[in-house]
Amino acid sequence: MNKILLILAGCIFIYSCEKTITPNLDAPTSQVVIQGNVTDAEGPYTVTINKSVGFYADNTFPAVSGAVVKISDDMGVTDSLTETSAGIYQTHTLQGQSGHTYTLSITSNAITYAASSTMPAAVPLDSVTLNHTSGSGNKRIEAIANFQDPAGVKNYYQFEEYINGQLFTKNFYIFDDRLSDGKYIANTLRTDSSWINKGDLLKVNMYCIDENVHTYFSQLIQSSGSGAFNTTASPANPASNISNGAFGYFSAHTVRSRTITIN
């Protein structure tokens, strides 16, 4: 019962790889995509209408012009929007307020789309701090939104980052207090590589959104098509709060912002 155990020196040669493929994808039916917002900031508020395109087409989405677009509130005000450029419609007098319900109505090509959304109470954004991380060899700066979640009510949040005035479009950020009711929240806005750099001017917008809009974005994130962790094995089009099969959302939300310089 002896013998010296042999120690193996071997090299592991794993080669993991990625490549671009072009699977055959059927042509989709072009769908109407509506994005509408009403906020507690000053107007005008914008509704955008365009159409979806095939996967291999360019990222230019045909505008839907000539639609009749109206937003009314629960106090008897109806604002008829004007098309300021192709597919972009703006309000004139409407002013959003927390606690009120807004109804969107669009008629385009003889189809009427309707949606409503109730603006939740505002939650103040106390500060934006930074988290410096390093991993897999590259350094990252991530913003953290700090705020007090009100206890006893369901709150749904959405964040947007503007880096040097440019909207950051690599990620959707949403948060809800299902597991955090009443806590002081430090919510990291994760980025997958170094997008925020020293010297940048960073603006973080925090929106309090209603439950349907949160559900919409949560499903949109899960169906992002990356096939990786957190995305579902069976992605589907997210449930929109707009009727008649339109894609997109209509959201009445509050806005609170903080701007910092990265140092």
Binding site: P28, V33, T188, G225, A228, Y249
Partner: protein, 729 residues
């Protein structure tokens, strides 16, 4: 079997007990077991006798001529859809990273589909991963994978053999729809002490076995530890070097004979995986099982086995980031009593009956968070259920040609208090709730599961078989991602979740050629499944008290044909296995209520395994695998939301991943064999052709062109060479 009276033969049960009845006289008894030397014993029968044997491993001996048994069990036994492998059968098959893996080898057999690269999950006849009952010495193993699925929890040193029942399982097994994988641990050598082990690139193993009391008892202890993470320590990056990624496991078993009639066994398994990334994230998970068994022989006809079994699977996650200090734990835990009787009424008349009683507790999730954290501490209520069953089955030869096995399993599943039980409407909102105190029954499900299989011998070397089986399942694994995760949670049936039920009919033709040197089988099956589970769009499965409101219930069906040709002896051995199948599902509200292919629906599935004994020293082997890609849901259109490209979907699982194929080669060099020491080297090359088999396919914005989107396919490995050194002394 008796050479002079071939019809008086017996197959031992899993503890090695057998009973043969024959008129008084002189006989020659042949004792054989796959890959072991056949033993021949002269016998003079004039009274009841008890004979015990131990067989020698065939080892390096070349092409032992099998003393031809006229009956070969694959043809005569009424059970069908059964695959049995011993560790000896798989020792020469190429393996990933030199790690012999009985689960991976099983996936080369007909009707058993691999989960893909980096996934030890497997699909049997269209069933999902959680519809396989995986038993290690009778204890349920809830997560049979290590390192997120690259390796299985079964250390080949500790395993004697595995049997897989594809749907048509005997009445003593229950609890899963699709299959039973019954893994038996080695008993250890009862005559002498041995130490054996292996050194590989990824992990090493050590195994010690020997007698406790010569010929009365033996023990075996096997341990394994992976050390891929040692390479991480070489990294200059502190986050990488302080990361961990390893697993270890320990198998131990002891048995002791208390006289001629009683035999005690104690076996256990403990395994753990640890994953960590710097100080920010840590996760560990693992299974623990323990089995105590008592075999008792009442008389030459009645055999009893009593088992007390414990099984647990748990995971822990620690997250440390900024001010967030959060721990998450979850477990499922079983206490199980199994009493089994086997009555040998005659040489071809056997009755099997008994009972099963399992107490399951699941803790779906518990979050502990520091005061400064953004999260609240929270514990989801434990779920307590009792699963009991009575069963009986009868093996009978109606004529020398016609064998039947029929049985019934009666199962009662009781959802127990304490707890608050909610009911939901279609939208998933709570409409009612009821509070139950401890030990109060919330809901009972009673299910009868008839089982029938029969074989009819056409000639001495061929037969046809027919089987019908109903199975039910009351534990369901919630997994909504493309790969199975250690954090997937098991939930029991409840007032909202109904038991899954499957009915399977199968028919087969079995034929052996050239004195059993070749085996051929063709089996076809149709399976109908009720109360299958899927998830609502955007389902929230993590730490959700109302997780049952996130589920959909629907139907499934699966059918196919499995062809299998095996060469048992000679310099060249191996098999070809081909399965043609279809698996579909139908859920209200999904895919416009139309039937759609299940993820694991693979039309073609081909495996070829060849082992060639080149010389006394060298053995070469190779396997080739081809299968149709999984059914997947891919977008075909896109639109923009808040400046981000989003994707438009049309059909559930309407597209296919590219087909998978892989060729592996391996060579084993047997070192000099002395009485006290033997060793071998194994060289293998996984994926010889370097094919980039897709692991995932991603639809994304083209990073180099803002006006375009692209499809990117990721593959895990191309060539994976490995070297393993095995020794025994």
């Amino acid at each position: 079997m008796l050479k002079e009276l071939p019809q008086a033969s017996a197959i031992t049960n899993s503890y090695g007990f057998y009973s043969i009845s024959a008129p008084a006289g002189s006989y020659t008894l042949l004792v054989s077991y796959s890959n072991y030397k056949t033993d021949t014993i002269p016998l003079h029968l004039n009274k009841d006798q008890t004979l015990s044997f131990s067989l020698a491993v065939q080892g390096a001996q070349m092409q032992q001529v099998v003393v031809t048994a006229v009956r070969s069990t694959n043809v005569s036994k009424p059970l069908m859809g059964v695959q049995k492998l011993s560790v000896n059968d798989i020792k020469d098959i190429p393996v990933f990273f030199g790690e012999k893996d009985i689960l991976k080898t099983l996936q080369l057999l007909p009707g058993i589909q691999s989960g893909g690269d980096g996934n030890s999950g497997f699909y049997v006849r269209g069933g999902s991963v959680d519809q396989n009952l995986i038993l290690l010495d009778e204890a349920t193993v809830y997560n049979p994978s290590h390192l997120l699925g690259f390796f299985s929890t079964f250390n080949s040193d500790a395993i004697k053999d595995v049997t897989l029942y594809k749907g048509a399982m005997p009445a003593e097994y229950g609890g899963r729809l699709s299959s039973v994988l019954d893994v038996h641990m080695n008993d250890g050598n009862s005559k002498e002490y041995h130490v054996s082990g292996g050194l590989g690139l990824i992990s090493s193993r050590l195994n010690v076995e020997g007698p406790i009391d010569k010929d009365k008892g033996s023990f075996i202890v096997s341990a394994r530890r992976s050390y891929a993470d040692l390479f991480l320590k070489l990294s200059k990056d502190t986050n990488t070097s302080s990361s961990s990624l390893y697993f270890y496991d320990l198998n131990a078993k002891a048995n002791y004979k208390l006289g001629e009639k009683d035999h005690l066994y104690l076996s256990g398994y403990f395994g753990k995986d640890k994953l960590g990334f710097g100080n920010n994230f840590g996760m560990n998970y693992g299974n623990t099982t323990a089995t105590f068994r008592w075999n008792h022989i009442f008389n030459s006809r009645l055999f009893s086995n009593t088992s007390l079994i414990y099984s647990k699977y748990n995971y822990n996650i620690d997250i440390n980031s900024a001010n967030n200090d959060v721990g998450i734990t979850s477990y499922i835990k079983d206490y199980h009593l199994k009493q089994d009787f086997q009555y040998y009424a005659g040489s071809s008349n056997k009755v099997n009956f008994g009972l099963d009683f399992i107490d399951h507790t699941t803790s779906p999730g518990s979050i502990s968070a520091s005061q400064s954290s953004s999260f609240n501490s929270q514990t989801l209520q434990n779920k307590h259920v009792l699963e009991s069953a009575l069963y009986a089955s009868h093996d009978l030869a109606l004529s020398p040609k016609l064998n039947v096995n029929y049985g019934l399993r009666a199962g009662l599943f009781s959802v127990m208090g304490p707890g608050t039980f909610y009911s939901y409407n279609n939208a998933g909102n709570i409409v009612d709730s009821a509070v139950y105190s401890s030990n109060k029954i919330v809901k009972n499900y009673f299910n009868l599961e008839p089982r029938l299989s029969m074989s009819y011998k056409l000639t001495s070397a061929s037969s046809v078989k027919l089987a019908y089986t109903r199975t039910t399942q009351n534990l369901h694994l919630l997994s909504n991602s493309t790969s199975s995760n250690p954090t997937d949670v098991w939930i029991p049936s409840s007032n909202n979740v109904k038991p899954e039920i499957a009915d399977q009919v199968s028919a087969g033709y079995f034929r052996n050629f050239l004195g059993n040197r070749y085996e051929f089988s063709a089996e076809t099956y149709y399976r109908n499944m009720q109360n299958q589970i899927d998830y609502k769009n955007g389902a929230q499965l993590i730490a959700n008290e109302n997780v049952e409101s996130q589920l959909l219930s629907g139907k499934g069906r699966s059918y196919g044909i499995e062809l299998y040709m095996k060469k048992n002896t000679g310099k060249l051995t191996g098999w070809i296995s081909y399965t043609l199948s279809k698996t579909e599902r139908q859920f209200d509200g999904v895919n416009s209520n139309n039937w759609y292919p299940a993820n694991q629906d693979r039309t073609h599935n081909l495996s070829v395994v060849a082992i060639y004994k080149l010389s006394k020293k060298w053995t070469l082997s190779s396997d080739f695998v081809y299968y149709t890609g999984n059914a997947v849901t891919w977008p075909n259109g896109k639109y923009e939301i808040n400046g981000q490209t989003s994707f438009q979907y049309t059909e559930r699982n309407g597209y296919r991943m590219p087909a998978y194929n892989r060729l592996d080669l391996s060579a084993t060099l047997q070192g000099k064999k002395t009485k006290h020491f033997e060793s071998s080297w194994n060289f293998s090359l996984y994926n010889v052709l370097g094919r980039e088999n897709p692991y995932s396919v991603s639809f994304q914005q083209d990073p180099n062109d803002v006006s375009k989107t692209q499809v990117v396919q990721y593959a895990l490995f191309r060539w994976v060479p490995s070297v393993t050194y095995n020794f025994k002394f």
